[in-house]
């Protein structure tokens, strides 16, 4: 088997007159964790449903772990562990009962099944709720049951549709950690509209907008591609007016724009300096502050964040002011 685990070619899907997906082409290699990013209704879920052979594309095709979605859907499904949007589970079943069912459906039996059950229950920390009915569980635990059933047959590919939506920050952090753990040995595609999620979890981002792929890059490269660096300086005010202070930094030769706002402490002012090109202005900012007798208490460089790029790419390029 080659190292390309998922290969989508010109995937197109029409629902009636609506085009949900248009010519999506991408590849995902073994061991990659790819974030699928886009506003609601952009085509993320449709792509995932096509890859899991739940719906067929109107045009184009895809291969998962070497099997074609039209020619061998069973082999495709065998290679995939899938967590659909909003984690639909049989709420009347007990956690253990359900995982047993999922294991049997995946062809596991006897001692092999028991060993895998023990493993996934441990991986997803479900030990305490194993005898409860799924309907009684909190959203976070349900999500873990969903992940556990997706992992039960040790699939090489995991497809997770919005695995972190609807969770509180603690639960989301746990699930994120779990996904990162799992992702060490597996190929994962996860969809989300939470940008921070992608930046911490994924090594690569596919941004989709109105059914079309508009970006395919690492989070860092995306940021570098779309935005200039910014420099955030925090200075003590000592009675000087904000405009006076920003005046000091405006004099830096390569500075394009300077904005100031109140800092977190009462005596502090935060100044944001954007360079004309890609210059590193940290030294200039330090010298300007020293020259004007200002006490510099903080200085950092920030790339444009994913959120800005996301907005630019998914709103038809209308410039999003950082």
């Amino acid at each position: 088997m080659s190292d390309v685990m998922i290969e989508a070619r010109d995937l197109t899907k029409h629902y009636g007159t609506v085009t949900a997906l248009k010519n999506a082409t991408f590849e995902v290699n073994r061991g990659e964790v790819v974030g699928f990013l886009g506003p609601n209704g952009a085509g993320k879920t449709t792509t995932m449903k096509i890859l899991t052979c739940f719906v067929a594309p109107s045009a184009g095709t895809a291969r998962v772990a070497g099997a074609d979605i039209f020619e061998d859907p069973i082999a495709v499904r065998e290679a995939i562990g899938y967590l659909p949007e909003s984690t639909p589970l049989y709420t009347e079943m007990l956690v253990l009962e359900y995982l047993e069912f999922a294991g049997k459906m995946r062809g596991l039996t006897g001692e092999g099944l028991r060993a895998r059950l023990r493993k996934v229950v441990e991986e997803t920390s479900l030990g305490d709720v194993i005898g409860k009915s799924i309907g009684e569980l909190s959203k976070g635990f349900r999500q873990r049951v969903g992940l556990a059933q997706a992992l039960i047959h040790e699939p090489p590919v995991l497809i997770l549709d919005e695995p972190m939506s609807g969770l509180d920050p603690n639960q989301a952090a746990e699930i994120r950690e779990l996904i990162r753990e799992i992702g060490r040995e597996r190929t994962i595609i996860l969809s989300t509209h939470n940008l921070a999620e992608v930046q911490v979890t994924c090594g690569r981002v596919l941004i989709i907008s109105r059914g079309q792929l508009v970006a395919d890059d690492t989070p860092e490269e995306l940021a570098a591609r779309a935005g200039k660096p910014r420099f955030i300086a925090t200075v003590q005010r000592n009675g000087q007016s904000p405009t006076d202070i920003s005046e000091v930094f405006s004099k830096i030769g390569d500075a394009q724009s300077v904005k100031e706002r109140d800092g977190s402490a009462p005596n502090e002012l935060v100044v944001e300096v954007v360079p004309k090109g890609n210059q590193d202005l940290r030294a200039d900012i330090f010298q300007a502050a020293v020259g004007a007798g200002l006490i510099l208490v903080g200085l950092e460089q920030r790339g444009e964040n994913l959120e800005d790029i996301f907005r630019q790419l998914t709103t038809g390029g209308a410039g999003a002011e950082p």
Binding site: E85, M93, R106
Partner: protein, 236 residues
């Protein structure tokens, strides 16, 4: 085959985790008891004919309640997506669901066994028609369950599935009840399509291959229609 049994077993067990199975079983047993004993001592005959007559009718109304959720509820909650994206074919899903509800139906039929058994203690019961009657109930039940499963595959609303299944079931049951009003040719055609006509003939203890084939054909056609409906999802 293993997948069919796994899906069927899960379905069967989940009936007992919810109220539907208990409610349907209770209602069937209570109505049957009422109608059967009401007239049993009046006739003063050691026969289970009346039980099959009533049961054949009661089940026409009761079985759609067992099948209404089979696929409709899975579609509403989205669990169908997890089920289908496991390595199974649509045919295995349909057959698994059918096997699951058929298992519950078998339990229901087994619960009526005390009727012929107690009749046998009261007099000399001819067991031939009893077994014929049970075979008839099983076959008519298969057809009704398959029709219910088909109705459930058409919608994601249990109540609509129930209504459609009830309408079809009652329609096929009632077909031979108004034959006197029709010309002879139409009458015999309708009679042949009627569930009750084939069922009553089996309940008399007459094992006719045509009756068996009739119910099996209806079952297969309805299951095939359910399969088509489930599969069409891919191309919508």
């Amino acid at each position: 085959m293993k997948h069919i049994l796994t899906i069927g077993g899960r379905q069967f067990r989940s009936y007992f985790n919810g109220p539907v199975a208990y409610i349907v079983i209770c209602i069937v047993m209570l109505t049957l008891g009422f109608f059967f004993w009401k007239t049993f001592f009046l006739f003063g005959r050691a026969s289970a004919r009346e039980m099959f007559r009533w049961l054949g009718l009661i089940l026409v109304f009761a079985l759609p309640a067992l099948t209404m959720g089979l696929l409709a509820e899975e579609k509403r909650t989205g669990t169908i997506e997890l089920l289908i994206t496991m390595p199974v074919t649509e045919a295995q899903v349909i057959l698994g669901k059918f096997v699951g509800v058929l298992g519950l139906y078998a339990v229901l039929l087994a619960l009526t066994l005390p009727y012929p058994m107690s009749v046998a203690t009261l007099g000399d019961l001819d067991w031939g028609p009893v077994w014929g009657g049970y075979l008839g109930l099983l076959l008519q039940g298969s057809a009704l369950l398959a029709i219910g499963l088909m109705a459930s595959s058409w919608t994601d609303n249990q109540l609509i599935a129930l209504f459609v299944a009830l309408t079809l079931s009652v329609f096929f049951w009632v077909l031979d009840k108004f034959l006197a009003l029709l010309p002879t040719n139409a009458a015999s055609a309708l009679e042949w399509l009627s569930f009750d006509y084939h069922f009553q003939s089996m309940a008399r203890g007459v094992l006719d291959l045509r009756d068996i084939l009739f119910f099996l054909s209806v079952t297969i056609v309805a299951l095939a229609a359910a399969f088509r409906a489930l599969e069409s999802r891919r191309w919508s």
